[in-house]
Symmetry: C2
Subunit: 228 residues, 2 copies
DNA sequence: ATCAACAATATTGTATACATTTTTGTAGTC
DNA sequence: GACTACAAAAATGTATACAATATTGTTGAT
């Protein structure tokens, strides 16, 4: 999907992948209940494997497990939201530095091809594909940067970003505009390290600016504070 | 242990914690077999929970699961090793920047107290405690930097560093010298951001320099190449 | 009608048994 | 004696049943 290397992964990782995708595409809302039996039937796997997947997702911060209550899609608070965007800027800046150093001329078309997909999905109004491809662009950058570690970290950050934007978006949100991605490709092509990094940081700031991180939004489960 | 916040964690996370610690302290060698039933008996939990913990550790890259074969402590290759140290430098540099900006005067004694523990463990020759405290110092820095995300990333990086040093150390390795930690504290106290960052980078470089990352070491399971 | 106590239901958590697969040990043949 | 084929053992993977717990619904008293 995003990176062709790890097409062969374990069965647990595949369940995680599908739930992760649903969260990243905002088909699963923050706070949504994740019943084990239901997931087992949907994915046609044993309940034990669903529990393994949920444990992994919990350690990734995407899911909250309450003992004897069940699993829910996580609802990050404002502090965590700011943290995620702060770290994401740092990580993606490092990705850009590495990428400009390492990318070869024959890899640039990969970025352009991805961008074309983004534009196409955007034009035909496929929001699900738009969100997936938009995050996929950033992951592709990390993949081409050649650090599987940065890739893994960014993977986490992007999925959490999706959760955060789902909760705190103040109005309409076009997750990542393809235009800024295009500008990014130009700087990468010309090996402009500082320029590429700056555009990336601006790009992420734009996304963050569309959020309303001023007030804490009460979580689904802890709705005491929502009503008093 | 390292950070007082998450003292109350789930039962799966507790199993992960104990296995992680054993790996970080090098009581579990790379490639070591991890039998489910054995772990279940040791930790006095169900085998299902052990499987959950192993799934989490696999997603963290600390454990390799081979279908129908079992779980083994991971054996990172040289590429991954270089990647880990590269990213770790980036991450810990960011930690230092944040830390110098955010740390308060009354938090510096925490660092000194930790350093005192390191020195004491070092003097009495307690290698297990030395390794734990040495990594704990870096985690404490991340905690005081106030980003739970950076903390989590560094947690991963440190445990993988332990695996890597266990495999690729060329000779004697004093994981992290307390002296360099002391120098670090000085720079932090004087709010010398660039100085603190440089010392940290040098510090990590010293650790990496003690490794022999020139040749690939054959893994335990794939020992074909080790013998032909 | 409201509230408390209690029963019913649903879901999670765990133990058990069993199928599948891999590894190891053994017997048999050349 | 070495190699192959087969059998036994061990460990993983999974399905099932059951226990523990939380939620929901109901009944009954004031």
């Amino acid at each position: 999907m995003y990176h062709s290397k790890e097409t062969v992964i374990g069965p647990t990782a595949e369940i995680c992948e599908r739930i992760w995708l649903s969260i990243a595409e905002k088909r699963l809302r923050p706070g949504a209940r994740l019943k084990e039996e239901q997931l087992a039937e949907i994915f046609d796997v044993s309940r034990a494997r669903v529990r393994q997947a949920l444990a992994v997702l919990e350690s990734d911060g995407l899911v909250t497990i309450v003992p004897n209550r069940g699993a829910f899609v996580a609802e990050p608070g404002v502090d965590e939201a700011r943290d995620v965007f702060h770290v994401r800027k740092q990580i993606e800046a490092r990705v850009m530095e590495r990428l400009v150093d390492r990318i070869t001329d024959d890899q640039v078309p990969q970025l352009e091809a991805h961008l074309a997909q983004e534009r196409e999905a955007d034009q035909r109004g496929d929001t699900s594909a738009t969100i997936r491809l938009s995050g996929g662009f950033h992951l592709l950058l990390a993949e081409l940067a050649g650090s599987s570690f940065l890739f893994g970290i960014l993977r986490d950050l992007i999925s959490r970003s999706s959760l955060i934007t789902a909760i705190y978006r103040s109005q309409h949100l076009h997750n990542c505009g393809p235009d800024e991605h295009a500008a990014l490709i130009e700087r990468i092509r010309s090996r402009d390290k500082t320029g590429a990094t700056r555009i990336m940081l601006d790009h992420l700031q734009h996304v963050e600016d569309e959020l309303d991180l001023t007030e804490e939004i009460p979580t689904s489960r802890d709705l005491r504070h929502a009503l008093v």
